[in-house]
């Protein structure tokens, strides 16, 4: 081990170990979230949800994963081959990179980059590109409509998302996620003038992850499954994995920016971090099983006419407040 460290350097080894950890976290997290989603949806509809495979159906996601692995990988005729094959891979890379900068505990962070939040935002907007690739490459009108909707939606909601995060950055003067958490030692930002920013961020975040009530790109009832209609087997699983990991990232960033990240009494930091994150994930799932899908014009109007002005006003108010 020491020899390897000497050859490639300490930082590289740390990064490799960190990436492996992140990969494991991403897969296990997505598996558990599918289970959680089905349990929550079941109980909201007064059903039981998965219960046959393992205790409380806990092994169900693994069984589902194996099923997806064993499925035939179909490639429809006349697809744009390079784009079609690239899309599922490309959607998976950004979600991995985003986890690198998230601080799970005081010392548990793969790499503390001083532009951490920029990394997350830059890579998460990359996932729009892969959705567009998937929709375009599938040679299917529903996929294309889904992809176009996704692009319009993501452009519209990235702006309030950025603006709401910016108002926190005004207070911390740092883009590093760890600094932002440490700045909340005296109190979480959600209680320090940032409640509106949190609301705007959370709504925009739900839209960014294409979740109900903003799930127009997938819209099962009208577009079959939108951009991933033509994907089967493991490729479909990658899209699924990316979707659930995106929910996790949005919740994790909200935790870091507004809910004090790993800070909390008694329990170790990592436990606090995951409690807060999964609480937000559960709220997003709760939204899904409560709200109907919005219409496309409502979706865009809501972002451009309400969220963005509110985010701007909030930003100006916070800026003025800090200047005083």
């Amino acid at each position: 081990m020491n020899e390897i460290i000497q050859i490639v350097g300490k930082e590289t080894v740390r990064l490799v170990i960190g990436l492996i950890g992140v990969l494991i976290l991403v897969v296990v997290n997505a598996l558990m979230l599918t289970w959680l989603e089905r349990k929550i949806s079941g109980h909201i509809q007064r059903r039981i949800g998965p219960k046959e495979v393992g205790p409380f159906g806990l092994i169900q996601p693994i069984a589902d994963g194996l099923k997806l692995l064993g499925k035939e990988i179909l490639t429809p005729a006349n697809v744009d081959k390079p784009l079609y094959f690239l899309a599922p891979v490309l959607i998976f890379i950004p979600v991995l990179v985003s986890f690198v900068v998230i601080p799970f505990d005081v010392c548990l962070q793969v790499k503390d980059i001083n532009v951490g939040i920029l990394v997350i935002l830059a890579f998460s907007s990359l996932s729009v590109l892969s959705i567009l690739l998937a929709g375009w490459g599938s040679n299917n009108k529903y996929s294309l409509i889904g992809a176009l909707r996704s692009v319009a939606q993501n452009i519209a909601y990235e702006i309030p998302l950025l603006l709401s995060l910016l108002s926190v950055i005004f207070m911390t003067n740092s883009l590093s996620l760890k600094d932002i958490v440490e700045a909340q030692r005296e109190g979480w930002f959600i209680w320090k003038w940032q409640f509106i920013a949190f609301l705007v961020y959370f709504i925009a975040g739900v839209a960014e992850t294409n979740r109900t009530p903003f799930d127009l790109p997938e819209a099962e009832s009208e577009l079959v499954a939108g951009f991933h209609t033509e994907y089967s087997g493991m490729r479909f699983a990658l899209f699924f994995l990316a979707e659930y990991t995106n929910i996790m990232i949005i919740s994790a960033v909200a935790t870091v920016f507004f809910l004090g990240g790993y800070l909390g009494p008694f329990l170790p930091g990592i436990v606090w971090f995951f409690i807060k994150t999964y609480l937000l994930v559960a709220i997003i799932m709760w939204f899904r099983w409560t709200f109907p899908r919005v219409r496309f014009d409502q979706l865009l109007n809501f972002s451009w006419k309400i969220l963005i002005p509110v985010a701007f006003m909030n930003l100006i108010a916070i800026g003025g407040f800090l200047k005083l």
Partner: protein, 149 residues
Amino acid sequence: MTNVVEIIKGAISLISGLCVTTKAFFSPVVTVQYPRQTVKISPRFRGHTKLVADEERPERTKCIVCGMCERTCPSGSIKQIEGEKLEGEKKKTATVYILNYTTCSQCGLCVETCPVDALAFSADYNVTSYMKEDFYYDLVKEFEKRKKA
């Protein structure tokens, strides 16, 4: 100004929607785990017909082999009714009563028309087979089976 009022109204309606699902989330589950649990069958459920035991002689059915049911059945589902006169008795006793359950529509005319109320609906609902012959029930044999059980 109307815009602001609309937003507030919308937010309230969203929260009330969330309350509805929360209430449902914490309410007891209504799923019945079918093979392990069964629901109570209502008394008016119509399964295939069955022969009713005679009150005075519970080892025998009430059926007197008059053939009314056979004649009244609109689908001709009642195939064959045979009986014999036992010693010292005026009425016949059924020995064979074949019902073709594949064509029976549970209309209940046989039950209504029976002069001695010898027919009733059973509560059997989980009947499956690969062969239609399995649904040619001999109700007398079925009665004997029930009597033993």
